[in-house]
């Protein structure tokens, strides 16, 4: 009923738009009293615009053949995204609705922005991207990620909008941003589809044991808890400050974030105890398991510039948790993370090469190494992921080939994405992808070794 109501409201808005005073290009030359610009006309009007896209996607996973006729199974889905932009003299309203073919409607983003001389104020459900990296960040912590389709969607599409209040204060060429979110949203993981992470699968393997120990209902509750969910408690709010500026050809910034890590932490020793049949009831198990999202303070720095003709960029973040000594197995250790990279056009057709390296160093690894139950226990405490993208364009940017490689240096697993996009007519594009996942089964990308796929996406924007 709620979905139907949301759809009806959206449809009514769309219908009324056709009769509303939608300003054409003349509005571009209207007097803008807030900025003092000159204009071609003196009419001050509010304007309502709608935009969006209709996307049809079909994907076939190549390593999974159907038993009946040995053909590759394919999934298709369509999505309509509707954007509403309402502008007045000193304010904007922006909203995005997403409709899928299951009948679900989601309010992707919805916020207002109020403009003042030296600052603007934003409030609502927003996606905020911090950092100078190219779709790869270590200082961008305000939004959780929707990983139900792993990292196959674009970075911005994966971000889950968060309800927040944001102040942007302009000091000369500098900008100070202050954000408060009363809640936080954890990363959303796939539970039953093709992109269930191995750590989630391992948690699901506990289900038979939990059923045996506690019964089906309790086991299902445990399973739900282990996958994680968004939190609505005030103590899980987030606070962040960021200052950015540009000087002498350099863009730089500093930030501080106080909130929670977006992936679950727990006391893994409780799992071993469960397997030994120690617990009398599910609540005792859950109490011992201590599912939580670690508090974290992230101190960040970022920069970008053009160095030797390369669009260079970098980010550095220090993640400070409650486990400063590194000896609490239920809390992630402090860590350093950074990104360094850049892109450059080559003197070869319209080729652009974009290379970035994301590194993480878990501190106090000596406190973790001898405790397999520690949440940070791993083979590698210093990891490096290389992201390389090579792109070109033909026929006045109507044919866009691109190859991208994400490669984990230590575990030697990778994703290779081969993409070809055609801009067909007006705002219609057809994109083909052939994506490969390779590596050992216990690695980040290798766990999806059998998920190599081809896909076609038809997109129409309006």
């Amino acid at each position: 009923m709620r979905r139907l109501l949301t759809f009806l409201i959206a449809f009514t808005l769309m219908f009324s738009l056709s009769t509303a005073k939608i300003c054409a290009f003349e509005s571009a030359f209207d007097q803008d009293s807030s900025s003092g610009d000159s204009g071609f006309g003196d009419n001050k009007t509010s304007s309502l615009e709608f935009s969006g896209s209709l996307e049809y996607k079909i994907r076939s996973i190549l390593d999974k053949k159907s038993d009946s006729d040995l053909s590759y199974p394919s999934n298709s889905e369509s999505e309509l995204e509707l954007g509403l932009d309402y502008s007045r003299d000193n304010s904007d309203l922006k909203a995005t609705l997403a409709f899928d073919d299951n009948g679900d409607v989601a309010l992707d983003e919805a916020f207002i922005r109020l403009y003042y001389d030296n600052f603007d104020l934003e409030a609502g459900k927003m996606k905020v991207v911090w950092g100078k990296g190219d779709k790869l960040h270590v200082v961008d912590n305000l939004n959780g990620e929707d990983l139900t389709d792993f990292i196959n969607p674009e970075y911005l599409d994966r971000q889950i909008a968060e309800k927040m209040v944001k102040l942007n204060y302009y000091l000369g060429t500098g900008k100070l941003e202050a954000v408060y979110t009363p809640e936080f949203t954890a990363n959303k993981l796939d539970r039953e589809g093709d992109w269930v992470l191995s750590k989630v699968s391992k948690m699901k393997e506990l289900k038979p044991i939990a059923v045996k120990e506690f019964g089906l209902t309790a086991a299902l509750e445990i399973e739900d808890s282990l996958v994680g969910d968004e939190s609505k408690e005030l103590k899980d709010g987030q606070l962040a400050l960021r200052y950015t500026n540009s000087k002498g050809g350099y863009d730089y910034g500093f930030s501080i974030y106080q909130g929670r890590l977006k992936n679950l932490s727990m006391d893994r020793s409780a799992i071993a105890k469960l397997e030994k049949g120690v617990y009398r009831d599910s609540q005792a198990f859950l109490n011992d398991l201590d599912l939580h999202y670690d508090k974290v303070t992230v101190l960040g720095a970022e920069f970008s510039s053009v160095l030797f003709g390369i669009n260079s960029r970098g980010e550095l973040a220090y993640y400070l948790t409650d486990d400063s000594d590194g000896d609490d197995p239920t809390v992630h250790n402090n860590k350093l993370a950074w990104i360094i990279g850049g892109d450059r056009d080559l003197p070869l057709h319209n080729v652009n090469v974009n290379l970035q390296m994301k590194s993480e160093l878990i501190l106090d690894k000596d406190k973790v190494d001898d405790n397999p139950a520690d949440i940070d226990y791993s083979e590698d405490y210093f990891t490096n992921m290389m992201v390389l993208k090579v792109s070109d364009d033909f026929n006045n940017q109507r044919i866009l080939p691109e190859v991208s490689l994400m490669y984990n240096l230590e575990s030697q697993d990778y994703i290779l994405d081969n993409q070809l996009e055609f801009i067909v007519k007006d705002d219609t594009s057809i994109k083909f992808n052939y994506k490969l996942f390779e590596g050992d089964g216990d690695t980040l990308f290798g766990q999806f070794d059998e998920n190599d796929y081809i896909s076609m996406v038809v997109n129409y924007e309006f």
Binding site: A28, F29, V129, K135, D251, D345, D393
Partner: protein, 269 residues
């Protein structure tokens, strides 16, 4: 004797006259640059039609603002906002000219959700898929080339100087040379031939419609066509007109400096 003195006087007068009014290629291009840069500010709504060799058109609309923020050094800022098509709507681009170092350039892409610095070395890259490159869209410093008047010629409605410009440093230039037809009346280039560095052949041809008029006291080009001679693809760049027929362009009007900031790139305000 009297006849010889008259002839001599005529020759001297003519020589003196031609020396007093003779222009060099450099003079012509200096004047052309002054015309282009005239005005403390500019604001226009422009159309850019990408035309395939089979006539199919992809239309774009771009709103452009420009100001001279340092008169003594003639330094400017330009910001562009794409209005259509939907696939690039909301994309904004800011360029700040600097003294003694490369221009600062930033782009805001809605799909990226943030402002991104870009390199001046991308000047040879196509501007949103058109036949204009980023460098084509900005003016080249007169000092960067050697200029020579090849001849004077009437082109359509206009008497023109035909000026050959060869880069002093070919590595920094897009083209091996340019030949420009610059009108004597307005000092506006109405035809520019751009020659390839690789082959020496005519690579691109820019032609301007002969309806140059003054807007706010400044000679203004309303229609230009850039053709890629190899592919046959063309790009028409023109100033959009309102329902009354008035062109959407104005000069020397007050433009808020906030337009030329990263705040505007991100918010559009």
């Amino acid at each position: 004797m009297r006849r010889r003195i008259s002839i001599l006087f005529l020759i001297i007068t003519l020589t003196f006259t031609s020396q007093a009014f003779a222009m060099t290629g450099r003079d012509v291009m200096d004047k052309a640059k002054d015309i282009i840069n005239d005005g403390d500010s500019m604001h226009a709504l422009m159309g850019m039609d990408l035309i395939d060799d089979d006539g199919e058109v992809q239309a774009r609309k771009i709103e452009v603002w420009g100001i001279t923020y340092n008169q003594s050094k003639d330094l400017s800022k330009v910001v562009m906002e794409f209005r259509t098509p939907a696939s690039i709507k909301g994309t904004r681009f800011l360029q700040v000219e600097n003294d003694g170092r490369d221009d600062d350039k930033w782009i805001y892409l809605p799909s990226l959700g943030r402002v991104r610095r870009i390199s001046s070395s991308e000047g040879s890259k196509s501007f949103v898929g058109s036949d204009f490159t980023y460098d084509d869209m900005s003016s080249r410093e007169v000092d960067e080339d050697n200029h020579k008047i090849l001849r004077e010629e009437k082109l359509g409605d206009y008497d023109c100087y035909v000026v050959e410009s060869i880069p002093k440093n070919s590595e920094d230039a897009q083209y091996a040379k340019r030949i420009s037809w610059v009108t004597k009346e307005h000092f506006v280039p109405v035809r520019v031939e751009m020659y390839s560095k690789k082959t020496g052949d005519l690579q691109k041809l820019l032609t301007v419609k002969h309806n140059i008029k003054k807007i706010d006291g400044i000679w203004t080009v309303f229609d230009a066509l850039m053709k890629d001679m190899e592919s046959g693809h063309s790009t028409k760049l023109y100033i959009i007109r309102g329902k009354s027929g008035a062109p959407y362009i104005e000069y020397n009007k007050k433009i808020s400096p906030v337009r030329f900031t990263k705040r505007f790139l991100k918010t559009g305000r």
